[in-house]
Symmetry: C2
Subunit: 356 residues, 2 copies
């Protein structure tokens, strides 16, 4: 029983980009630890469970990655260095504000002179269809100031762009991506190994929706399951609970926060308490599928605190993560004091350039 | 057996935005039919199969939606009006060239004067943190010309942006989105109802990766499956083959192209032929998971034509969809001639403004 997680790592190979990501994690943690900065590992988005070795089909967990992406922005504002470990293609901090089309719509084709219309420009474009793109662009530059930001978009974009550039200039945000539950576990363990030396200054904010069930690699069919041989029965197995070795072995001094999402309100708090008893970590953030954007409950072994957005706050577009992260940061500071971290922690401003 | 698809529609309710989408489809098809323009319905991306009624877990099909999104751009260049029916959040024409971060990196915070650095700007920003965003932006405008496109990004962005704006100005591209296999079928049937009157001028380019298996709505558990009651067994059922009523009843004169993706090369052509015999449509585009970006086979009841990119073409970034769409458009024109559509089809230029 106690070695299920070790068996998992023995059977499932690391993802192909594992060593690159491990180097990035190591460099990131060492650099911020040198500056005495708190580091939070945020996991975000759902993990997949392949149903075929050459994967066409997989079981997925509902998660756009909103909680993690929004929270990352608030942790950066609190001066944390952020490892953003997310499902490939899930929402990411800053860019989450702009889907592809929304950003393209912020751009405009600006015309030279009052008599050039979008149709004229398009006509010129289609006339030069056979030419190279360089040539086409050179022709277009004669008729229009192409591709500029619309003035009213600048105001929308500027605050986000500035935070984005500041976080990157400071080297305060590291992205690493996973897809399958196996990729996720490999990255999680590697990140923990790098965070261990930060002791109580490290926080784990495990918001990813990790699969509970999977098909072990040695039970997978090689090829796509065929539909003409009848409907298949999929026998799933339980995924080992990595929270056990994580809390006990990998990062025993860190401030570990896990998340629990249920659809049945009655199960929410009992299941959160049961998880705390079993894994002995610091906090479970309990939330319900239907109300998760405006209500969360912070459950610890002895307390529970509800954070609820008012109707006005919801209308004003307040992120519940602003309150959630603020409260968790406050409790993390208490944890560091209890663990004897000298106060005040030297907190380098976020916008100072990275020393690499 | 013959009413399985009718049972499906009887059991599964239409998606909530169904009536809105149906209106959009109807207006789009009527407008382009009036102008005698060919219309292609492209389906793109994977469909999901929920495993719970309040869905946390679902089975998904591997598909980023690349084939459909790239093809849509080429159909527009051939003068087609394009219905782009795609999985929510999958790749879309034009925006596919720029992921969120790529677009943000094309933008720059431009500084006023030589002595303002990104750090100065960030500092000013953080000093005004407590103020409203409007106030912050007004302060920033005094120190920098914020958020403008980088000059070298303009050249990259311009050709794509221009095509995007031209397609939208012409009203030649309609997006409708689905998530579950049930949403997909409802939209597919509605689109066919609107396309039927275009007769042989309509094309269906069914590139979506549609689930073969599902759990019928009346077999779904209401709440999230619990992991403490052991590992579940999922009994899947076969999804009814909608291609049968589609070809026979919904759009009997249209040019229908389906796609077949396999991981086992030996199954590819036999399965494509079997589908053509069974459903009596015009073409199966057969492709293999591992080589689908540079090799496809166009299979008809009597012929098969391989389209293969050379190593040089792959390196030069040639889209195989350029060749694929070109060939299919050529065959569609032949089909229209055979069906007695008067030639030449009046082909309004793509960039003419929409008449609404």
């Amino acid at each position: 029983m106690s070695t299920q997680w070790e068996d998992f790592f023995a059977i499932h190979l690391p993802p192909t980009d594992f060593e690159d990501n491990r180097s990035l994690l190591r460099e990131f943690c060492e650099r911020h630890e040198r500056h005495g900065r708190c580091i939070v590992l945020i996991t975000s988005g759902g993990t997949t469970v392949p149903l075929e070795y050459n994967t066409v089909r997989f079981v997925d967990n509902f998660s756009a990655g909103t909680r993690g992406a929004v929270s990352a922005e608030y942790f950066l504002e609190h001066g944390y260095a952020v490892i953003f470990m997310h499902r490939l293609k899930s929402l990411e901090p800053f860019t989450r504000h702009f889907s592809g089309q929304k950003l393209l719509d912020m751009l405009d084709i600006q015309e030279r002179g009052p008599n050039t219309t979008i149709t004229d420009i398009a006509l010129r474009w289609f006339e030069t269809q056979a030419e190279s793109e360089q040539y086409q662009v050179s022709v277009l530059k004669k008729v229009c100031d192409i591709a500029a930001l619309k003035p009213d978009s600048v105001d929308v974009l500027a605050p986000v762009l500035l935070r984005y550039k500041a976080a990157h200039a400071a080297g305060a945000l590291l992205h690493v991506a996973f897809t399958t539950v196996s990729d996720y576990f490999w990255l999680l363990r590697a990140a923990c190994e790098c965070l261990a030396s930060s002791g109580p200054c490290a926080m784990l904010y495990l918001a990813a929706a990790v699969s509970d069930f999977y098909v072990p690699k040695d039970h997978l069919p090689t090829h796509k399951i065929q539909s003409d041989t009848g409907a298949p029965i999929i026998q799933l197995q339980l995924v080992p609970k990595m929270l056990a070795p994580l809390v006990n072995l990998w990062v025993p001094s860190a401030y570990v926060v896990s998340f629990k999402l249920e659809t049945d309100e009655n199960l929410l708090i009992p299941k959160a308490r049961a998880a705390l008893e079993k894994y002995k970590h610091k906090m479970v953030v309990a939330n319900q599928l239907q109300t998760r954007r405006h209500r969360v409950v912070l459950v610890t072994p002895k307390t529970s605190q509800e954070i609820l957005l008012t109707r006005e706050e919801v209308h004003a577009g307040t992120d519940i993560e602003c309150l959630l992260v603020g409260e968790i940061v406050r409790r993390h500071k208490e944890h560091m004091q209890l663990e004897g971290v000298p106060e005040p922690v030297p907190e380098a401003p976020l916008h100072s350039p990275a020393p690499r």
